[in-house]
Subunit: 403 residues, 2 copies
């Protein structure tokens, strides 16, 4: 090599995700590692009609648009999403992004200097941890139980580290699928106010409620924070898991000066996301033949069925030393391996059998992630799920038989 990379880049280049991806391209490989929705449920016919309409409207749709995103879609979001979730913001407080990953990258670039502390709900999404590592943040893992972050411990960490951000997913997190209770939501928000910490609320999976008998889940912290007016919360949402990933449309909503700052950084990062795709999505959501509410209900019904199958498979003898909590929503089961078994080592043994999962270390800031794996149930079909779970179970059993 005749020139050198930036210092922080180097560690990112050796991620095990690359090896999973290389394998996943092979035929007959089964990956429960992915973050893929079920493509059978994409509204492809409706989008085909929407595309015809939108492109027939003339060349404007193919031109550069506003860097903050197509105005009518931002208006739809403030009305539909804002109204349903009691999050009252103006369209100017919404930035359309290329999925939630970009929203995370932008807010971290906006706020975090090298060496700044950032609190992260632990475990958390692999994408968030990578962004923080790239930005040179000092990542502080915040401890949670099944009901949310532990408030006393969190306050001690805020006092000690003076973090700039707290990154968490209170509703159906990636990877746990858990839900914070109401008290924790209020207490954590109060702490963020007291210690001047911006709460980044990742609601990427917030619509995927798999408890079909429940009414509404608890309000988002964004809604509790005076509908975004207080500015203590940046909300991040996505259409990738609910409509289709290839539209590459997510959004961030928050205080005006944060959204304006992120918009400037977005222009620097990629000028803007595709106006055409945003118009397509807007046409789908507001046009005939499509009900957002019915679509979500159908999606959640199917995902609940897939989860049920995975939970059945987890009860089989091969999995007897593995423990897990039933997720309330989202696309994953977060499972603890038998004592002493390391998920990165398990993955190395599983790949040659033609199967992958997400090793827990990639979802955690501390070391305890090594004893966890994340299993995706939204994407694999029924047969794949059977076979994949069997192959992983066998690999685990081979290790436990030895010890």
């Amino acid at each position: 090599m005749r020139y050198s990379f930036a210092s922080r880049t180097v560690s990112l280049l050796s991620s095990p995700l690359r090896q999973i991806r290389e394998n996943a391209r092979l035929n007959s490989f089964i990956s429960l590692a992915e973050e893929l929705p079920a493509q059978e449920l994409f509204p492809v016919k409706r989008l085909e009609e929407a595309a015809q309409d939108v492109l027939a409207s003339g060349p404007d749709v193919l031109q550069y648009g506003e860097p903050e995103g197509f105005g009518p879609l931002r208006e739809w979001l403030t009305a539909e999403w804002g109204g349903r979730k009691n999050a009252f913001v103006a369209p100017s407080q919404v930035l359309l992004t290329t999925g939630t990953q970009q929203a995370i990258d932008l807010v971290v670039r906006l706020m975090v200097d090298e060496g700044d502390s950032v609190l992260v709900e632990n475990p958390t999404s692999p994408g968030c941890l990578q962004v923080l590592s790239m930005q040179g943040a000092k990542v502080i893992p915040a401890v949670s139980d099944g009901n949310g972050l532990l408030v006393h411990e969190l306050e001690q960490q805020m006092k000690l580290h003076r973090p700039k951000l707290l990154f968490a997913a209170p509703t159906f997190s990636n990877p746990t699928g858990g839900v914070w209770d109401m008290g924790r939501r209020q207490d954590v928000l109060e702490l963020c106010r007291r210690y001047s910490v911006l709460f980044v609320e990742d609601d990427s999976y917030g619509e995927l409620d798999l408890n079909l008998k429940r009414g509404e889940v608890h309000p988002s912290l964004f809604a509790l924070d005076d509908g975004g007016q207080g500015g203590q919360v940046l909300y991040i949402g996505s259409f990738s898991k609910t409509i289709a990933p290839a539209l590459r449309t997510g959004w961030a909503a928050g205080a005006s000066h944060v959204i304006e700052g992120m918009t400037v950084l977005k222009q620097l990062a990629d000028m803007q996301s595709s106006t055409m795709n945003q118009r397509l999505l807007h046409r789908l959501l507001t046009g005939p033949g499509f009900s957002w509410h019915d679509h979500l209900a159908q999606l959640n019904k199917e995902y609940a069925t897939r989860l049920k199958l995975m939970l059945e498979l987890l009860k089989r003898p091969l999995w007897k030393e593995v423990t897990w909590r039933v997720p309330e929503g989202g696309m994953y089961v977060w499972a603890r391996l038998p004592e002493g078994l390391d998920s990165a080592i398990l993955l190395k043994a599983a790949l040659p059998k033609g199967v992958a999962f997400m090793p827990g270390g990639l979802c955690t800031a501390g070391k305890e992630g090594a004893s966890f794996i994340r299993l995706n149930f939204s994407h694999p079909g029924r047969d794949e799920l059977f076979l994949g779970m069997n192959l992983i179970g066998e690999t685990i059993a081979e290790f436990t038989a030895r010890s």
Copy 2:
């Protein structure tokens, strides 16, 4: 504000570009500041047919794809672009990006640590300068005459500053529209080899050749560098100026380890660009009823006409103290204001008249940019161009009359 931004972000938030944009939204405002292609020339009918085809092929097109981009489009690029330009690379050496802006952001994030030196052809694109500023690079302006960078000065700067990158647009740059001659291309490449500098070749405007009688322009530095095999050059191209910006598709081609590094960073930045848009583009380029060659020829013919009109208008008495070089390609005229007139001050006087241009300071790393303005001729229609040039000319005349 209850929390603070990162230190480098703050300066970016006060850019005059924001004020231009705010004004440009008003009705009857004429902006010659934009980087917009002519939407009358978008192949909107062909893209409508392509969208029908692509979406009818099933839900796969809406799923996540490869982070490096749709394989067949990368293959098309290596065959068509690579073949035509004598740049011989494998598809694995090509990364599809959300336009050239993202390619620039990714390579800078990959390579540049805070405080690292980066050489920049001066003047250069505003987007490049913003990325470098955000990454904390020490920007060193490289001096050029009408034939390319000055080689002796460049070598002194390389010796003194040990830069990581040299960023330049040897063919039809934004903003000058100039072309480096063959000798300079070879000499600069040789210097990059000797001093281990990665040459980032921005060819965003490289297809927009407005000298209709010329055959091929000089080969790109990428092609001179052993077709990318040597790895001293990263080539950056775009479909935003040739097909349509809303497809948000550009690409970077280079040595495998650079492309792999950029791909990892792309996943961190936004997971991936839209597979659907990449498939649309591929279908357009390879499908019936569309000739890439004829399309480019038609585009260049129309832009040459628009340039001719702008050059006529520049000869009017209002512009008599302004000087410029006729651009060889691209979408802009780079003009020097009368002695002592500052382009940022001129812009403030022009905005209330309902017209904007790009002040030269945003295109330059040094201070001399203040005496230049960049005028776009690709987007405004004939009447807009007449009126806009008249309004700017009047504003200049008001200043020169006073002094």
